[in-house]
């Protein structure tokens, strides 16, 4: 393994490591545009030039492998001059429209300019005019004048997605990114093109002109879009802005996790967050009065629910109660649910497996056919197979054998259709606990508003059996509560139930009681998650 010196610090790295990567190991950041750790190298932008002792010229650190005893300098006047020069070249034909650019504040070019250049422009001639507002596909827009022609987007499509649809057209300073004639970008990974673009050339239609990046707060999360469990960052704000009143969550971006999603996120997941702030969010408990729902308070709604369940269990036994939880819920939510129904009320009919739950359209890269983030978790917690299946419960509701049905985030009408609708409308007591209004919710007698994935702490177990943590970024909308908290409050009214104050307390109990979670704590999960079981069969 070669040992080299970078800026007077010694480092030993694997054979074949590039200077840039070796420097990174020492915490020395070398500026670059075209280099991307997960794409092939092209050596094009020349921003990463460094000085190597005894080399006649500056060398590109992104492509040159280290040698034993190499001596590298990343901050000499020669290197600094080269960086200034490269930035000046890039900026001569750049429109300098940071004030209206969505990338401002998180733009590599802008950051580098302030860090390495900050010199006024010497360019007095006309800039090259290129195409603007180019519609490359359904989800993003290209501004060629802002483009630094690093080619990352082209390589992403070719190397990661495996599609040939983007290319660099024309030559010299007229070089422009574009789609091949008659082609549009239609794949499910367009958001990553915006991510890999170091400047404001590619912007997402979903985010354009909505919010300045520096006004956004960030929290680590897990994409709830499917069972893959891609590591993500949610960008949100607590302020409200003109025109987009009520929008708190603005985007999801990927977070690196080599074992799960590399550094990518699919569009289905990335742009699936809109339910969080959508108009159909359930924000207060509600009770059915005739054909309409009447807003109620938690006390009333929980009292109604508790007494309803109690009455059914007392009169007809626990088998007259059915529970269909959703694998959208966290492990904590599901464990709290299980404690309530299984331990306190002795209900056996608990099944999350609605038919068709895993029948979405998946792809080879990230997106899974099962569009639920915690299916594996629900399996590990034993929320299926203890009593009737979800489908059988529908039949029993219809025949009146099941009198009370508790839908915890689940929407049987969506998966089963008319049959479920008919069954649910016959239920004596239908409780719907969830985040958004739905066809099943419509038929409920009591609505309990739940928190979304960005409004609560908890864990998901992805399809691989990897336990990963989500964090609370925002307070639940309106009066909504985290699902575990709803169960805790209900539990208090129904019998001996632990008084959980936070998700972590639920997790501690779960870690003690449920085998795959034994010995774990939030601290032990870590930012990259921890594998606790095999993939589901």
């Amino acid at each position: 393994m070669p040992t080299l010196t970078i800026d007077d610090q010694q480092v030993t790295v694997d054979q074949g490591t590039t200077i840039l990567e070796a420097a990174k190991k020492l915490g020395i950041a070398i500026p670059h545009f075209c280099y991307h750790p997960r794409l092939t190298k092209v050596d094009a932008c020349r921003m990463c030039l460094v000085e190597v002792k005894d080399a006649p010229k500056l060398v590109t650190s992104c492509s040159n492998a280290v040698r034993d005893n190499m001596v590298v300098f990343t901050g000499t006047p020669k290197v600094e001059e080269a960086r200034k020069s490269i930035l000046e070249f890039i900026l001569i034909n750049h429109p300098l429209d940071c004030p209206i650019c969505d990338k401002a504040g998180e733009c590599t070019l802008q950051d580098y300019y302030f860090r390495y250049s900050s010199q006024p422009s010497r360019f007095k001639d006309n800039k090259v005019e290129k195409h603007k507002v180019v519609d490359l596909g359904a989800k993003m827009v290209l501004d060629s004048e802002r483009c630094v022609v690093c080619g990352r987007c082209v390589r992403f499509c070719r190397e990661v997605v495996g599609e040939e649809n983007l290319g660099i057209f024309n030559r010299g300073d007229h070089s422009e990114i574009g789609t091949y004639p008659g082609k549009k970008i239609e794949h499910n990974y367009q958001g990553n093109l915006v991510d890999v673009c170091p400047v404001g050339a590619l912007t997402a239609k979903d985010f354009r002109f909505k919010c300045r990046s520096w006004l956004l707060c960030k929290a680590d999360t897990i994409c709830p879009g499917c069972s893959n469990g891609c590591n993500a960052v949610v960008h949100f704000t607590l302020r409200s802005f003109n025109g987009i009143k009520g929008q708190r969550v603005f985007r999801l971006t990927p977070r690196e996790n080599n074992d799960v999603n590399k550094i990518w996120l699919c569009d289905v997941g990335r742009w699936g967050y809109s339910f969080v702030d959508s108009i159909d969010r359930l924000t207060t408990p509600a009770l059915k009065k005739g054909e309409d729902f009447v807003k109620g308070d938690w006390d009333t709604a929980l009292r109604e629910t508790a007494s309803g369940l109690k009455t059914v269990v007392e009169r007809y036994g626990p088998s007259a109660v059915g529970v269909i939880p959703s694998p959208h819920l966290t492990n904590e939510d599901l464990y709290a649910l299980k404690c309530l129904f299984s331990c306190v009320l002795k209900v056996a009919n608990i099944d999350f497996k609605l038919p068709g739950l895993d029948k979405g359209e998946g792809d080879k890269l990230l997106l899974k056919a099962d569009r639920h983030p915690n299916t594996r978790g629900a399996e590990l917690l034993g929320l299926s197979g203890t009593g009737l299946s979800a489908e059988a419960m529908m039949e029993k509701v219809k025949t009146g054998e099941i009198r009370a049905l508790y839908l915890a985030g689940s929407d049987p009408v969506k998966y089963i259709g008319e049959k479920a609708e008919e069954a649910l409308s016959r239920a004596e007591l239908l409780i719907f606990q969830g985040t958004n209004f739905s066809a099943s919710c419509k038929l409920a007698h009591v609505i309990l508003p739940g928190a979304t994935f960005v409004e609560k702490e908890g864990t998901f177990t992805n399809y691989q059996g990897r336990l990963q943590k989500i964090n609370k970024a925002l307070e639940p909308l309106g009066e909504a509560l985290a699902d575990w908290e709803i169960f805790t409050r209900l539990g208090k009214r129904l019998g001996a139930y632990p008084s959980y104050r936070c998700a972590e307390e639920v997790f501690k109990d779960m870690a003690r009681e449920v085998a795959p979670f034994n010995g774990l704590s939030y601290q032990k999960i870590g930012p990259q998650g921890i594998k606790i079981a095999d993939s589901s069969q």
């Binding site: 020069s85 490269i86 010299g172 300073d173 070089s175």
Partner: protein, 419 residues
């Protein structure tokens, strides 16, 4: 005047046909190489000949061949660079048009020496006649058994094809050429890996210029030392074709010993300046070579000697400019050429060439300022040595040398406009 070698068939009637070529001793070297010599011996002779790459970079040919690994998981290739695109250069064209069999014979010997079974020649698209003549020669060679299976009953196989370029200066850069040859957009590749290891279709590849390849049969036939001795005393390296253009009485391609003084080429062989005017400037090695002033033309035309005075041998194309030449216009033409031909892959060349062209155009229009000249120098320095391929440096050559060596003329132009 010694017997011409590379240009011996330039004025011979029907020399492009196999019969005439053989009558003049053609394919004797091939027989010698394949039946009497071992591959290593051929490489040794080429080493001894002092033959340096005639495309412009001047890398020793024998050395280049020796970089090719003996065993490789992928097929090895010979690619002949016939994309003659350097402004002022027109030396490969007469070889291909008048002596195409010399290229074919040289290619076969090269492939035998390096262990290659597939050769391609990438010809500039505009060279229609060259393409026709090469295809004709290749067909004749196949018919005669010089190409194909079991050449001269030696068990050696070789296929050869002509590939027509689509017209881009960058495709003369060897890795840009390889990309183009593979059917991709002509843009240089990252190096390393060098083509000798990962070249055409990922296989080890020898890339040689037409003139280099055409010299191979002579070197094999008469020996490396003989060829080396043809160069000027104390310089060696054989003979070379010098295409002379511009304000001379007799522009043309001259075969002369390596190391012939530039003055001799201009005044003796090319007949001196047209209208017996004064010489103002000479570009000694194709457009990319830094310009020389009249007092610098005693330099021997040879790689090291030209490098010593800050210019370069390049393709050996001599562009002569008399006292009436408008150097601002000349530099504008050159800068627009590089800006147009820059492939756009790397930043300094993509942006810098265009910027220099814009400034010089503005100066030409009479809207320049003295500070613009400093800006050109600083842009050129920002490009120099920092680009992915030599195209950036090629643009820097004329830009820096024109503006620094003839600064007064540019200053005058800025102050009072064109003479």
């Amino acid at each position: 005047m010694p017997e011409p070698i590379l240009s011996r068939n330039f004025s011979k009637k029907n020399a492009h046909t196999l019969g005439v070529y053989i009558q003049g001793g053609g394919y004797e070297a091939l027989k010698k190489a394949l039946t009497e010599m071992k591959p290593e011996q051929i490489i040794q002779e080429v080493d001894k000949s002092g033959l340096k790459g005639r495309g412009g970079a001047g890398f020793p040919v024998g050395k280049k061949w020796s970089f090719i690994p003996k065993e490789a998981p992928k097929p090895k290739y010979l690619v002949i660079n016939a994309d003659e695109g350097e402004p002022g250069t027109y030396k490969d064209r007469p070889i291909m048009e008048c002596d195409p069999h010399a290229v074919v014979e040289g290619a076969i010997i090269t492939c035998f020496a390096v262990g290659i079974h597939w050769a391609g020649i990438y010809v500039r698209g505009e060279y229609v006649k060259s393409i026709e003549r090469l295809e004709g020669a290749i067909n004749e060679a196949y018919a005669k058994g010089y190409l194909g299976k079991n050449i001269l009953e030696t068990g050696f196989d070789l296929d050869m094809v002509v590939h027509r370029g689509a017209g881009a200066y960058i495709c003369g850069e060897e890795t840009g050429l390889l990309e183009s040859f593979e059917g991709k957009k002509g843009q240089p590749r990252m190096k390393p890996p060098f083509p000798a290891i990962v070249g055409l279709f990922q296989g080890p590849t020898v890339i040689n210029n037409v003139e280099s390849i055409a010299a191979i049969p002579h070197i094999v036939k008469n020996g490396g030392e003989w060829f080396n001795g043809l160069g000027a005393p104390g310089i060696g390296g054989g003979v070379k074709l010098f295409p002379v253009s511009g304000h001379v009485k007799k522009p043309g391609v001259y075969e002369l010993p390596m190391g012939t003084p530039l003055r001799e080429i201009i005044y003796k062989h090319a007949g001196g300046i047209r209208g017996d005017k004064k010489l103002k400037a000479v570009i000694p090695g194709g457009a990319s070579a830094p310009v020389l002033k009249p007092e610098e033309i005693d330099v021997p035309m040879e790689y090291a000697n030209l490098a010593k005075i800050g210019s370069m041998m390049g393709s050996g194309a001599v562009i002569v400019m008399d006292e009436d030449t408008d150097l601002v216009k000349t530099l504008r033409v050159l800068m627009c050429f590089y800006a147009h031909e820059s492939c756009g892959k790397c930043t300094p060349c993509r942006e810098g060439t265009g910027w220099m062209a814009k400034i010089i155009k503005r100066i030409e229009k009479g809207e320049g300022e003295s500070a613009d000249l400093d800006t050109i120098v600083s842009i050129a320095n920002g490009i120099r040595g920092r680009t992915l391929c030599p195209l950036g440096d090629a643009a820097v050559g004329p830009a820096l040398s024109f503006v620094t060596k003839f600064r007064q003329e540019f200053e005058d132009y800025i102050k009072v406009g064109a003479g």
